[in-house]
Symmetry: C2
Subunit: 539 residues, 2 copies
C-alpha cells in the first residue's frame, strides 16, 4: 500500500479541524495544515486538517499512558462493551461515512464502501469484542506444582498508522489494527491517513461517543491527522508507547521501523506485496479464457489498489501461453479504467512502470497515465523473460500499486524455479494447476519454495479476497511485513501483536488477574493447566 | 548476560579444532584462532579454535538452506526422534561434558553442572520433542466455510548465539533456543561462545551422531566457534537465514539486532537485566534476617552470574531498613567469593561498579577485584538514594553482571514510585510484602507499574530459579529482550519464536500439511476448528 503525502500548504484558513486529544476535540497548535483531494475531480475538499506539533504528540502520549494505567486491571468485558457500542454507532452512521469516504477516495459507494467494506469494519470490531470477552486469546497457562501462571496482557498504548486504500476496514481509528489493539486492552493513538481525514474524523466522533457511553478513560482513543517525519519517528520510539501498527508505503514504513527498532519497540508493518500467481501449463490448456477473465477481474478491481493485488504472474513459455497473454491483454484494454486514490498513487504507479520497462519489461497493454476519470492510469500489462527477471530481480519486483501486472515468462522449469527462488516476501502466492492432476509434478516443485516466501498460499483462486476468519494470514515475510509470525487480519491471532507475555510467579491468589485465578472466570476460556488444555477450574 | 571476547591470537598451532560444516568436521580456512581460559587458574587451555571466514559461513548457510528444503514437509516425529536421541546421548556423555564445562567455566561440578544444569538441558530437549510430536503448538486453525486453514510452520534456518553463563542449558547447540528451533522444524547454525568451545564441541559431536542415527540431512546441525563482528552481521542478515536467537552482552546484541532489523529478519535477544526486588516496610519488620539470608544467597549464588540475578533492591528509608542493609552487608562480607566466568566478566564488573559509584552509589561491602580464586571480585553491595537514582536512572541501571547488587533507598512512597517509573525493561521483578497484608496498600501502587516493566512478576521469592514449565516467561520488555511477547524458556511458547504463520487458502486436500487435513493426525492435537478448540476431526 502507498501513503499519500500532500505538500503542506499555507492557505487562507477555512475550517481547520481539531484533533482528538485526551477526550476533547482540541485546536492544534500547529501552523501547517493540509486538505484532502477528491480524486474524481482532482479538486481539494473544503476542510483543512492540522499537522500536529511534537508538543501536541507529547500531550497525546501522556494521556494515552494515563489511560493505559487506568485500564490495566479492567476486566475484558469493559473493552468488549466499548467495541460493541462503537460498532453499533458505525452502522448507524453508515450513510455519512460512505458519502465522505466516496468523496475522499473515489471508491464506489456500492457495493464496495456500503455493502462490503463498512459492514466488514463493524464486523471486525464485533469479532474483536467477542474474542476479548471469551478470553482464550490470552493463552492463560497455569502450572500448579511450580505455582507459576502466565497470560498475554496489554502491551501499552498502540499507535496506528492507517493506509490510503481501505478508508474503513484498515482505518487507523476503526480498522483491524485498532480493533486488535483495543481487544488486548490498549489505548490507541490513531494517525489518520492524509487522503481521507474526513472519514477518519467521522469515525473518531463515533469512537469518542462510544467511549463516553462505556466509561472509557479520556485518553483511551485519540486522533491526530499528520506529523512531520521526525515527529513520527519520535512518536514510535517514545518510552510511553507499547507498540505500533503501520500499513502503508515501504519507504515511510522502513523509516518508522528503524526508529522503533532502535529502542526495541514492537512495530508491525504491512508494506508492499506483488502477490505472485502461477498458471501452470496444463491449466492454461484446460481453461485459458476463464483464467484470463478471473485474473483481469482481480487485477483491475478497485483500480488494483488492494494489498493482495496480483501484480506478478509466472508462466512457462509456449504457444498456448502466448495466446493466454494476448487474451489478458485484450481484457485489460477493454476494461474501464478506474480512478486512483490520489495524485501520489498516480505518481508512484507511473514511476514504477518506468522502472519496470527500464529493466527489461515490455508493454503488452496500457503503459501511460489517463484513460479514465480524475487520477488514473491505463490498465497496464507488462511481460518479461524469466532470465531477465532473475538477473534484475529487485528492480522487477518494484511494486506498481494500482491496475498493473507483470507477466514473467520462464523458458523452462528450471528458469521458473529460479524465478521462484528470486522472489521477495509477499502476503500471498497462488498456484493454478489442472483439475486432472497433470500439473502436479511441477506444482510439487514450486509449492515448497513458494511456501517460504508468502503468508497465504492459494490454489486455483485469486488472492484479492481477504476473509475475516481465524485462519486468515494477512502477513508474510519481509518486505511484505516486518515479521512472518504475525497477521493483521484474523482474530484471535491479530490480537497477539499488541500483547506482552506476563508471567506471575508465586503471586498471591487475590492479586492474580481473573484469567489466572483457580476458577475459570467465564467457564468457557481455554487455558493450559498443568500441560492440558481445559475450560475447567484449577482442581 | 555478558559475552566474553578474547583477543585473537597468532600463536604456534597446537590442535586447531575443525568446525562442523554440512555434516563433516572440516578444517577452517580462517588463519586466526583463539583458546579458552580456565578461570580458576587464569591459564589458557590447550585446544585452539578457529575464527571462521565469510567463505565458510557462506557454505554453512548454503548447507542449512538445503537442509531446510529437505525437511520442509517432514512430519514432526522426525524432529522429535532426533531431539530424543540427542538427549539420550547427552545423558550418556554426562561425565565428559561436566568435566569440560568445569574446566572452561569454573562452575562447580556438583550440584550446579552435574545435578542441575545438565539434566535440565536434556529435559528441555525432551520437552521440545514432546511438544513437536503433540503438535498443539502449531495452533492449527481451520475454517470450513471459507476453506482456509493455517498453522505455524518452520521459519527457516536459525542461527543461535549462546551466552557464557550457562554452558549447557543455553548452549548454542544444545540449549533452549536450539531445542525450540528444532522443534519448529528448522536447521540450526550454532555459534559457540568463546568461553566454552570445548563443551560446545562435545555437544556437537553428540548432535552429529544423533542426527546421523535419525537420518537428518547433513546441514541440519552445524557449528562455528567465532567470526568477525562484520561477518556476524552478514550472517544474521543473510537471505537464507530464517531467524536468530541471541543471548549475551547488550552491545554485541544490539549490533546484531541492527543488522537483522534492517532486512526484517526476526532476531530474539536476551540482553541484560538487573531484576528489581522490592522489600516493603512491614515485611522487613516481620523477618529482616530471613530476607537478608535469602537475598544474599540468591545474589551471590554462582558468583551472581545468572540472567535473573537480583542486581537492584528497592526499599523505603527508615531505621529498620538501615539495620536490614547492614545485615545484608554482613552476609556479603562473610560469604566466600566465587570465581567469575572469565577475565572479561571481571573487567566489565569492575567497570560497572565504577560507573555506579561515579554516579552517586556508595559502597556498603566489597567494591574491589579479588577475594577468591582466579578471576574474582569481592561480593559487592552498593546503596544510593531514590532521588539520585531517578536523576541518574540510565547510569544507575548499568548491569553489573556478577556478585553485586545496588540498594535504592527511597525517602518516601512518592520517591519509590518514581524509582519504579524510571526502571527499564527487565526479565523479572519481585515484591516482598508482609504476610498479614499490612503492606498491601503500597503493593497495589507498585505492582501495576512494575507489571509493565518485567516479564515475570514474583511475590515473596527470589528470581534466580527459572523453572522449565509452560507458564515461565524468561523474557520481558526492551532492553531485557528485543520483544515483550516472546519467552526463551517454556515450551510451547518458546517455539513460536522460530515459526512463521502459514495460511492455506483453498489448497487441495492432499496438498495440506498433516495438521491441517480433515483428520486430526494424532487424535490429540488441539485445533481451532470453525472457532472452537477441538481434538477431533473436521466433521
Amino acid at each position: 500500500m502507498l501513503s499519500i503525502v500532500h505538500t503542506a500548504q499555507k492557505v487562507p484558513r477555512m475550517s481547520v479541524q481539531p484533533i482528538l486529544l485526551n477526550g476533547q476535540w482540541t485546536n492544534s497548535t500547529g501552523s501547517k495544515r493540509f486538505q484532502a483531494v477528491n480524486p474524481k475531480t482532482t479538486e481539494p475538499l473544503a476542510d483543512e486538517y492540522p499537522i500536529s506539533t511534537w508538543e501536541e504528540l507529547d500531550q497525546v502520549l501522556h494521556a494515552a499512558d494515563q489511560a493505559a494505567k487506568t485500564v490495566a486491571d479492567w476486566p475484558a468485558e469493559r473493552f468488549a462493551a466499548f467495541l460493541e457500542r462503537y460498532a453499533d454507532r458505525i452502522d448507524q452512521q453508515s450513510e455519512s461515512l460512505v458519502n465522505m469516504a466516496h468523496l475522499e477516495t473515489g471508491l464506489p459507494v456500492e457495493p464496495r464502501l456500503k455493502v462490503a467494506e463498512l459492514p466488514r469494519t463493524s464486523n471486525q470490531l464485533r469479532q474483536a469484542a467477542s474474542a476479548a470477552q471469551e478470553g482464550s486469546w490470552k493463552m492463560a497457562t497455569i502450572d500448579k506444582t511450580s505455582n507459576i501462571r502466565s497470560q498475554f496482557g496489554p502491551i501499552g498504548p498502540v499507535a496506528v498508522f492507517g493506509p490510503n486504500n481501505f478508508p474503513f476496514a484498515f482505518n487507523s481509528i476503526a480498522g483491524g489494527d485498532f480493533a486488535a489493539a483495543v481487544a488486548a486492552g490498549n489505548p490507541v493513538i490513531a494517525k489518520g491517513h492524509s487522503a481521507h481525514p474526513g472519514t477518519t474524523r467521522l469515525f473518531a466522533m463515533e469512537a469518542l461517543a462510544a467511549a463516553s457511553e462505556t466509561d472509557m478513560p479520556a485518553g483511551f482513543v485519540q486522533l491526530i491527522y499528520r506529523t512531520s517525519h521526525d515527529d513520527g519517528c519520535k512518536l514510535v520510539s517514545d518510552h510511553r508507547l507499547g507498540a505500533v501498527g503501520y500499513t502503508g508505503s515501504r519507504s515511510a514504513g522502513l523509516t518508522l521501523k528503524q526508529a522503533a527498532d532502535a529502542v526495541g519497540k514492537p512495530i508491525y508493518l504491512e508494506l508492499s506485496s506483488i502477490n505472485p500467481v502461477y498458471f501452470l501449463p496444463q491449466v492454461i490448456q484446460e481453461k485459458a479464457a476463464e483464467l484470463a477473465e478471473q485474473f483481469a477481474g482481480s487485477c483491475l478491481m478497485g483500480a488494483g489498489q488492494f494489498c493482495t493485488n496480483p501484480g506478478l504472474v509466472v508462466v512457462l513459455a509456449g504457444p498456448e501461453t502466448e495466446t493466454f497473454i494476448a487474451q489478458i491483454g485484450e481484457k485489460f484494454r477493454a476494461a474501464p479504467v478506474g480512478t486512483l486514490l490520489g495524485s501520489s498513487v498516480l505518481g508512484s504507479l507511473t514511476s514504477a512502470v518506468k522502472t519496470l520497462t527500464a529493466n527489461g519489461a515490455q508493454i503488452v497493454a496500457g503503459g501511460l497515465p489517463g484513460g479514465g476519470a480524475g487520477f488514473c492510469f491505463q490498465n497496464t500489462l507488462l511481460r518479461v523473460s524469466g532470465a531477465k527477471f532473475v538477473a534484475n530481480a529487485a528492480a522487477l519486483q518494484t511494486e506498481a500499486f494500482g491496475n498493473e501486472s507483470l507477466i514473467v515468462v520462464a523458458a523452462d522449469e528450471e528458469e521458473l524455479l529460479a524465478v521462484t527462488e528470486a522472489l521477495e516476501g509477499n502476503l500471498t502466492g497462488c498456484i493454478y494447476s489442472a483439475t486432472d492432476g497433470s500439473d502436479d509434478e511441477l506444482y510439487d516443485k514450486i509449492a515448497p519454495r513458494l511456501r517460504t516466501k508468502v503468508g497465504r498460499l492459494l490454489n486455483d483462486k485469486m488472492p484479492t479476497g481477504v476473509a475475516v476468519v481465524s485462519s486468515m494470514n494477512h502477513g508474510g515475510p519481509f518486505p511484505a511485513t516486518g515479521h512472518p509470525g504475525f497477521t493483521a487480519v484474523g482474530i484471535p491471532a491479530a490480537i497477539h501483536r499488541f500483547a506482552a507475555l506476563h508471567s506471575y510467579d508465586a503471586v498471591r491468589p487475590h492479586r492474580l488477574p481473573p484469567a489466572l485465578q483457580d476458577k475459570n472466570p467465564t467457564g468457557k476460556m481455554w487455558r493450559l493447566i498443568n500441560g492440558q488444555w481445559s475450560q475447567g477450574d484449577v482442581g
